[in-house]
């Protein structure tokens, strides 16, 4: 039937799905995009490691925690707002302007799929089970030029990421609530209010919870950057070198803003959709539980010795993952960061539990019949 044939006809997006799951495209032959961006885990990591290892033997340590790939298609190329606020961009430092550029990097990164060059990727693609589909979509001689082949591959991945419903399902309990189709529990409502209140969590300040300007549901990020002074993570191998600092916008991975020292330490504000399903939190994967993460948010400034190394005199080395001259860049102005030792945190323990109850409503794949959410529920098998 023509309709069925049309549905089954290969397309850049369908090829992108195949490439996304194809481990043969890595130097090790064991790592695909889906290895770290596990669909059933909301396209984020499934293990509890702070960072993942890659390379030809899967023994080259990474530098940053795996972000979820969901809802990325709403992002914009990197730019500065009129007031100077850095906004948009892909990767945690925004150095890729679109999904095509973003998709290119992991194929070649030594600590990820570790291909030597585009030719290596193209050569592997030419032997893939879907190579004929690749020719059908991009032309019989697509494999004649390695750069064009590689471009077609990352274009396909980007097409998949920007069109696949499973990467932007909007099927959470909160979405149903937003549409007026169900009610949140009292605890979830309390958490939602605390999340929004400027004098409490003030989470909505960077993670807006209201509909976007075009009326579509919120993505829970304003696409800006922030410097939270997250503690240095000894689980990251690179941090063994005391001179090494991951400064986000101003390097070392991103190189065009190295001179903007005021931006050092800023990382992209992530979506909070599926945040409760994560295994580690923040760019360096320092925290391993959501509750611990929220305690850090509100107690970083009231109880710093709980979060940072303490010297012999009992003085915490606050913001220890930044060189001393750059620690002034850390956001200490807005709630909940505007506290001092001795003051009450903006949220107490019970209130944190309420906020967590709300954050759990942001998990995709909610089933009202069972009251459970599973981000893998909407995933299409490759």
């Amino acid at each position: 039937m023509p309709a069925a044939q049309a549905l089954e006809a290969p397309s850049p997006a369908s090829l992108g799905r195949s490439i996304f799951h194809d481990a043969s495209l890595s130097a090790s032959g064991q790592m695909s995009c889906a290895s770290c961006h596990v669909p059933a885990r909301a396209h984020a990591q499934s293990n509890t490691l702070a960072v993942q290892a890659g390379g030809s033997n899967l023994d080259v340590a990474g530098f940053r925690a795996v972000p979820s790939l969901r809802y990325l298609n709403f992002d914009l190329p990197f730019f500065f707002e009129k007031d100077g606020t850095p906004t948009g961009g892909f990767n945690r430092d925004g150095r890729a302007d679109d999904l095509i550029e973003q998709a290119r990097r992991p194929f070649l990164a030594p600590h990820e799929m570790a291909n030597a060059d585009a030719a290596s990727v193209a050569e592997k693609l030419s032997h893939a089970s879907y190579a004929d589909d690749f020719r059908q979509v991009f032309g019989a001689d697509i494999f004649a030029d390695v750069e064009t082949t590689f471009l077609a591959a990352v274009f396909s991945v980007a097409s998949f990421e920007s069109t696949a419903r499973e990467l932007r399902p909007f099927t959470s309990k909160f979405d149903l609530f937003l549409h007026g189709r169900l009610k949140l529990s009292t605890q979830e409502l309390r958490g939602f209010a605390l999340f929004n209140r400027r004098d409490k969590g003030n989470c909505a300040g960077c993670h807006p919870s209201t509909r976007q300007a075009d009326g579509s549901p919120p993505v829970f990020t304003d696409y800006t950057y922030d410097n939270l002074g997250v503690p240095r993570n000894p689980e990251i191998a690179a941090n063994a070198d005391p001179a090494y600092f991951d400064l986000g916008l101003c390097g070392p991975d991103r190189i065009d803003l190295v001179e903007r020292r005021d931006l050092c330490g800023q990382f992209k504000v992530p979506t909070l959709r599926n945040v409760a399903t994560r295994q580690v939190w923040f760019h360096n994967g320092y925290f391993h539980s959501l509750k611990e993460t929220l305690h850090f948010y509100v107690e970083r400034d009231t109880d710093p010795e709980r979060w940072y190394p303490v010297d012999a005199a009992g003085v915490p080395d606050k913001f220890d993952d930044l060189p001393a001259p750059l620690r002034r860049n850390v956001n200490t102005q807005e709630p909940p960061y505007d506290r001092r030792p001795g003051q009450a945190p903006r949220l107490n323990d019970a209130e944190i539990d309420d906020v967590i109850a709300f954050l759990n409503t942001l998990t995709d794949g909610y089933d009202a019949a069972t009251g459970t959410a599973d981000p893998g529920r909407d995933v299409v098998s490759p």
């Binding site: 209010a193 209140r197 009326g215």
Partner: protein, 454 residues
């Protein structure tokens, strides 16, 4: 519904003036009215003569050189009666060459200076508005009417100014006393929305009620009919676009500043699934007296998919009265608006600073006195008291999640308009606020202003 003190005051004022119509016709007031009418007739005769002369003479190259000054109001103070008869009628005719015959240009503008007495660092000077308007008569019964406005001096991608088409409609007279309009029109509510030229109101700033509650300048696209009767009634009914509740931003202060002002669409790619209706009735059967009111109602969910307040209904009503006995100018207005079906929507705004109100209202009473008059100049001191609340009531929520009503703001304004001539006004006033709110611009302040119209 509990009757608000302002509603009672407006009603009492209207009744009092109706009962005292005999007093209004006293000899002094009547003589004043006759003198004013004589002056207007004389001015109109002069204008007609000059236009006739203009048709037989070569017109000067500069259109500005051909402008014929015509006093708008011989009384020297803004007259709602003259303004209500339409700004077109008050705009002086401009003699043009044949290609532009039937086309008139006019305009107005204002420059303001605000000096908060507590936060003097927020002192600000602003070219608030510059407006160019035009009418073109296609024939004796059909014309197009337009108004283009620039706000805050500079409008560009990097500035805060705006350029906007405030009105653009075609009007067709079906008979001598009624007709039809279609296009972008001002909503005929209140005393100022249709007559917001700076010479037409007292004080540097518009009163808060006709800004925060009736979102002056409020315009919608649609179709309307208008007319008048020999008994002194004038009416205006129409149907058209309305606000879009989907534009509500609970994280900003705009909804607290003006609930409808934050969601009106101004015919800018306006969602038009849900149309609204409006109607206004005014009576001017006694010289110097205006009594009227109006209502605007409609669905404002605009059939937005999965929008929890898709069925929300807006109703805004107002009543007003203005009495101008001799040198005095007294007015009062009360308005109240409601938005239904906001409970589920506000639940999605939990903890946000600005949920959607269920009810909002405001009212004011104002008195002005043409104390001095010499030639075309006059000095008119005034005092105004107003109360308003942009969040008087919110839809009920589960226990513990409700939103308390906002406090009612009360503002005293005292000052004077100095009319250099009826079309150029210098203003000074002092405003005292019951409570301060820096985000909304509430705070005691001293104001200066300059306004004009031609």
């Amino acid at each position: 519904m509990q009757q608000h003190p302002f509603a009672r005051a407006a009603l009492a004022l209207a009744l009092g003036m109706a009962l005292s119509s005999a007093a209004h016709a006293d000899e002094v007031a009547l003589k004043s009215e006759i003198d004013a009418l004589r002056a207007e007739v004389a001015a109109l005769q002069a204008a007609v003569k000059q236009m006739q002369a203009g048709q037989t003479q070569a017109i000067a190259a500069s259109p500005a050189a051909a402008v014929t000054p015509v006093p708008v109001d011989a009384g020297g103070s803004p007259s709602h009666a003259s303004a209500a008869s339409s700004a077109v009628a008050t705009a002086p005719p401009v003699a043009r060459d044949d290609a532009m015959a039937g086309t008139n240009f006019w305009g107005y503008g204002e420059l303001n200076y605000n000096h908060p007495t507590d936060d003097i660092g927020d002192t600000q000077a602003d070219l608030r508005r510059a407006v160019i308007g035009f009418t073109h008569a296609f024939d004796d019964s059909t014309r197009v009417y337009g108004e283009i406005e620039w706000e805050h001096a500079v409008a560009s991608a990097d500035d805060q100014g705006e350029t906007e088409v405030e009105q653009l409609y075609v009007e067709h007279s079906l008979a001598g006393n009624y007709g039809v309009r279609a296009g972008l029109m001002l909503i005929p509510l209140g005393l100022l929305n249709e007559h917001h030229e700076p010479t037409n109101y007292y004080g540097v700033e518009l009163n808060f009620v006709e800004n925060a509650i009736i979102p002056t300048t409020w315009r919608e696209g649609g179709l309307a009919m208008y007319g008048s009767t020999d008994a002194g009634f004038s009416w205006n009914v129409g149907v058209g676009t309305g606000p879009d509740l989907g534009k509500w931003d609970p994280s900003s202060d705009e909804g607290r500043e003006s609930p409808l002002g934050s969601i009106h669409q101004e015919l800018q790619l306006a969602k038009a699934h849900d149309l609204s209706g409006f109607g206004a009735l005014n009576w001017q059967g006694i010289p110097g007296l205006l009594v009227g009111g109006g209502v605007f109602a409609g669905k404002i969910g605009q059939d937005t998919p999965d929008f929890p307040a898709d069925g929300a209904q807006l109703v805004l009503g107002e009543a007003h009265v203005r009495w101008q006995p001799g040198p005095f100018d007294l007015s009062a207005l009360y308005t109240r608006g409601t938005i239904s079906d906001t409970q589920a929507l506000n639940l999605t705004y939990l903890g946000q600073p600005t949920p959607v109100p269920k009810a909002f209202w405001g009212g004011y009473a104002q008195g002005a006195w043409r104390a001095l008059e010499w030639g075309q100049s006059s000095l008119v001191p005034f005092v105004r008291y107003e109360e308003f609340n942009t969040g008087a009531e919110y839809a009920q929520q589960p226990p513990g999640f409700g939103t308390p009503a906002l406090p009612t703001e009360r503002v005293w304004t005292a000052g004077a308009n100095y009319y250099l001539n009826p079309n150029v006004v210098f203003k000074v006033d002092y405003q005292h606020f019951n409570y301060d709110d820096e985000a909304l611009g509430y705070g005691n302040r001293f104001d200066l202003g300059l306004g004009y119209q031609f």
